[in-house]
C-alpha cells in the first residue's frame, strides 16, 4: 500500500502525527470520529502515532457490546488499523492502573508506556490532533 500512496500524495513531506484519545467511547462521538481521522491519515503516508490515555483507554477495552444502545460498535476497527500500516499504538500505564485495567483487557496490540515516556513521545511530534 505504501508505494501507491506515495504516488498519490505529491508533497513528499513525512511528519510525525499523533492522534490523542483521552475520552471514553459512546458518551461522546469523539472516539469514533478520531478513528475515522486516523483511517484517512493512512492514505497520506505520514508517521502516524495513536495514543490512549486517561479515559481514552476505555476505547480499546475488550468486550464492547452496544446492542442495547443502538450505537454502532466500532471497536473492531482498532484491530483493522494494522492493515492500514498504522501500528504505533501507545497506551499509558498509569491510566490503565487507575481504572483497574491491564494490558490483557485491551482488544488490540499496543505498547504500554509510562506517563513519563508518553510525555516524551508527545514532545517529539510535529502535529498533535485531539478531540
Amino acid at each position: 500500500m505504501g508505494d501507491k500512496m506515495e504516488e498519490e500524495y505529491e508533497g513528499g513531506v513525512v511528519k510525525k502525527f499523533m492522534f490523542v484519545n483521552r475520552k471514553a467511547p459512546y458518551g461522546t462521538v469523539y472516539a469514533l470520529e478520531v478513528l475515522e481521522m486516523v483511517l484517512i491519515s493512512a492514505a497520506f503516508d505520514q508517521d502516524v502515532h495513536v495514543a490512549f490515555l486517561d479515559d481514552g483507554v476505555y476505547q480499546i477495552k475488550k468486550g464492547q457490546d452496544t446492542k442495547d444502545l443502538g450505537h454502532k460498535n466500532f471497536s473492531p476497527t482498532y484491530r483493522a488499523l494494522e492493515g492500514y500500516d498504522i501500528e504505533k499504538l501507545f497506551v499509558e500505564r498509569e491510566s490503565l492502573e487507575e481504572r483497574g485495567l491491564s494490558e490483557a483487557d485491551l482488544l488490540v496490540d499496543v505498547e504500554v508506556v509510562s506517563r513519563a515516556d508518553m510525555a516524551k513521545l508527545m514532545g517529539e511530534m510535529d502535529v498533535v490532533m485531539t478531540a
Binding site: 459512546y26 458518551g27 461522546t28 462521538v29 444502545l69 443502538g70 450505537h71 454502532k72
Partner: protein, 119 residues
C-alpha cells in the same frame, strides 16, 4: 405517571439524546405517558431533517420521529435556541414543532417528573 423530558445536546456528539430516547421508550412501554420532550441548547439540533448518518449506525432524528408517530409524543424545539443554531421551520423533520421556552416550564408544572439529559 406523566414524564417531561429535557434534551440539552444535539445528536451524535453526545449520548444525551440517545439516553433520553431510550428512557422515553421504556417509560411508554411501561404504561407511562410522555407529556412532552423539550429540546433546548444544542438539543434543538435533534430536529434537523437533513441528518443522514451512516447506515450501520442508529438514526437519532428518525428515532424521535418514530416515537412521535407511534405514540403522539409532543416534540418541541425552543425557538430562540433554534434561531442561534440555524434550526428554523424549514429545517424541521416531521414530528417536531417549534415553540417558546414557556413550553418547558409548563412541562415542569404539568408533568409528575422532569428528567434532563445533557453533557
Amino acid at each position: 405517571m406523566k414524564f417531561g423530558i429535557l434534551v440539552n445536546e444535539g445528536p451524535y456528539n453526545h449520548q444525551a439524546s440517545d439516553s433520553a430516547y431510550r428512557f422515553a421508550k421504556a417509560a411508554i412501554d411501561k404504561g407511562h405517558q410522555i407529556f412532552r420532550v423539550f429540546f433546548y441548547y444544542d438539543g434543538v439540533l435533534n430536529a434537523t431533517k437533513h441528518s443522514d448518518p451512516p447506515s450501520d449506525d442508529r438514526n437519532v432524528v428518525k428515532n424521535w420521529q418514530k416515537l412521535a408517530e407511534d405514540h403522539k409524543v409532543d416534540l418541541v424545539v425552543c425557538v430562540a435556541a433554534g434561531m442561534r443554531r440555524g434550526i428554523v421551520e424549514d429545517s424541521l423533520a416531521p414530528g417536531f414543532r417549534i415553540s417558546g421556552l414557556g413550553q418547558l416550564i409548563e412541562a415542569g408544572i404539568q408533568a409528575d417528573r422532569m428528567v434532563t439529559f445533557g453533557d
